[in-house]
Subunit: 195 residues, 2 copies
DNA sequence: TATAATTTGTGATATAGATCAATTTTTGAC
DNA sequence: GTCAAAAATTGATCTATATCACAAATTATA
């Protein structure tokens, strides 16, 4: 496990054994049951989570009681309510578990401490954040410029695994369309393939 | 001008005079004419820009020739094609000037150099990037959960200046709706206010 | 393994917002 | 100040996708 996490970090920044031990000492390992909530709307957001195993979702419940999916997180992904985490505000979204998961937990203060003591880790998080920015910008663009079928196909080709692991109504919610529309798209896809 | 930029940096990270001079030495000042393009689709993206004065837009032209606005940048904002800038890829979007502008230009290599030599600046860019992430996540959420009127009102209350400086069809494009719909919304607003 | 709960599929209908087309207003260039 | 270009408005349609209602299938649980 330690090794898997090290690989994740070293994809971006190479570390000596001592450096990695220093980094790793800031994390706590945690098991989270299916359906369990690790971030609750209105509560403080102490931590950011790295998913070692399992699947989580970040979601927002709007005034009409409709759920919107901001983000999924599978193995190797980070998840939290960034807005709240960074600004020490109360959560505006929920983060919960879709499959029983194992995560590494990092608190805000430990993260800041790590970044101020380690140039490399400051860079690691900067680069991660930059990448996340690029991805979010792309998502905005997709929401602005693509119709439901295009959005579905994009997700299908970029994260086919996700479509298998996540209930379809949550996928629909992530793509910004109704479950009925998504259902019709996936049926259409199956027929398209047969012909 | 130098002072205005220093204030911008020091909102996030305080610097000594020497530190600031070191930082500032990496930037070049540049004047950009209205309608001029500083990033062109298909071309390399060398720089990130900080707007000292003026107004710029980042936009994407889709396959049907429809323009989508990814970002505006007024005074004090940063702008570039992040995806391309970070990954040294060719631009997928255009960045151009809506008003004659003055910007500070920072190249990728100077930015990396600065970050590796200055812990503080690495932190500055990390924090900026985090904030941008939170904002983008909020925009995604708005696109997922709000109708045209709600999106218009949100922009109106958060960036009233923008509505005055930018042609409405570009605002429409930023919000993901047609110029006709936006026009009807603003008319409605005016009537709503009168009553 | 039975029963409940969750998820998915499908037809009928409604609607927000797009598109089309024409006009008016504003802005910019000479 | 005049003329051309760009932007905004307005009405009449059209359409993609939401919503509603119910049925079928799958998955979890007692």
């Amino acid at each position: 496990m330690k090794n898997k996490f090290r690989q994740h970090i070293e994809k971006t920044t190479s570390l000596t054994d001592e450096e990695f031990d220093f980094v790793f000492s800031h994390f706590k390992r945690k098991q989270i049951d299916k359906k369990q909530c690790i971030i609750k709307k209105g509560k403080p957001v102490e931590n950011v989570y790295w998913v070692l195993k399992g699947l989580m979702k970040a979601s927002y419940l709007d005034l009409n009681g409709k759920q919107h999916i901001i983000q999924f997180a599978m193995e190797d992904w980070w998840i939290t309510d960034y807005q709240a985490f960074i600004n020490k505000e109360k959560a505006t979204i929920d983060v919960s578990c879709l499959e029983t998961s194992e995560v590494l937990v990092l608190s805000f203060s430990d993260r800041e401490k790590m970044c101020s003591e380690s140039q490399k880790m400051a860079n690691f998080f900067r680069i991660k954040s930059n990448a996340s920015n690029a991805a979010l910008q792309k998502r905005v663009l997709t929401l602005l410029s693509s119709n439901s079928e295009e959005r579905y196909n994009e997700l299908l080709s970029e994260h086919p695994k996700l479509l298998q692991r996540v209930p379809k109504h949550l996928i629909a919610s992530y793509l910004g369309l109704s479950r009925e529309t998504l259902s019709r798209l996936s049926v259409k896809k199956r027929i398209d393939v047969k012909i």
